[in-house]
Amino acid sequence: MKIKTQQFGEIEFNEDLIIYFAEGLFGFEHLHKYLLVKTDEELFYWLTSVEQPEISFPMIGIRVIDEHYPSVENNEAFGIVILNRNPKDVKVNLKAPVYINQDSKSGFQKIIDSDKYPIDYNLFIEEK
């Protein structure tokens, strides 16, 4: 299968790599099939819609931010990232993580009901 993405141009992939979101993402309930794309040199993952490839969400594995983040068995938690040229303005949504099970190739998004996890967490701080 082939799709044309904004970041990587045309990519070809095997259909068994598609991750199925039965409920979709909040606000994107009509999209169910995604690819999780990662390049070696980058920190970020790209959750790219197979059905609408112009839609792609930058994400980061939340484990690099918080080792104690609420876990779901066999799933990895990702935060959707708002990128910015100025790294200090790069923000991660820790309030509504995306959980992905790579074995069953399924995913879902849920809201964590805790003030500890903001929707606009600043990803970077200056090294001291």
Binding site: G27, W46, F57, I65, D66, V81, R85, E127
Partner: protein
């Protein structure tokens, strides 16, 4: 929209799996209890809207490559 009137402690059933109960009523606040299957997401609408807006911004930001973060580190939560 279906509109029903309920008194304190009265309930509404939605389908076979969801029950909504009026827990308390004060001047302009109603406390609602909801019993629903685990796979049903229950979300305050304003929070849903915020999450949607944030995801839309994220999808629009894909060309904004952050540069010069060699002097920065990832902020961790303890």
């Amino acid at each position: 929209m279906l509109i029903l009137t309920r008194k304190l402690n009265e309930e509404i059933k939605i389908g076979s799996g969801i029950t909504v109960k009026i827990i308390s009523i004060s001047d302009n606040t109603v406390k609602i209890g909801i019993d629903a299957p685990q796979n049903i997401q229950i979300v305050r609408t304003e929070l849903y809207d915020k999450v949607k807006e944030s995801s839309l911004q994220a999808a629009k930001s894909i060309k904004e490559k952050p540069t010069g973060f060699s002097k920065l580190k990832i902020k961790k939560i303890d």
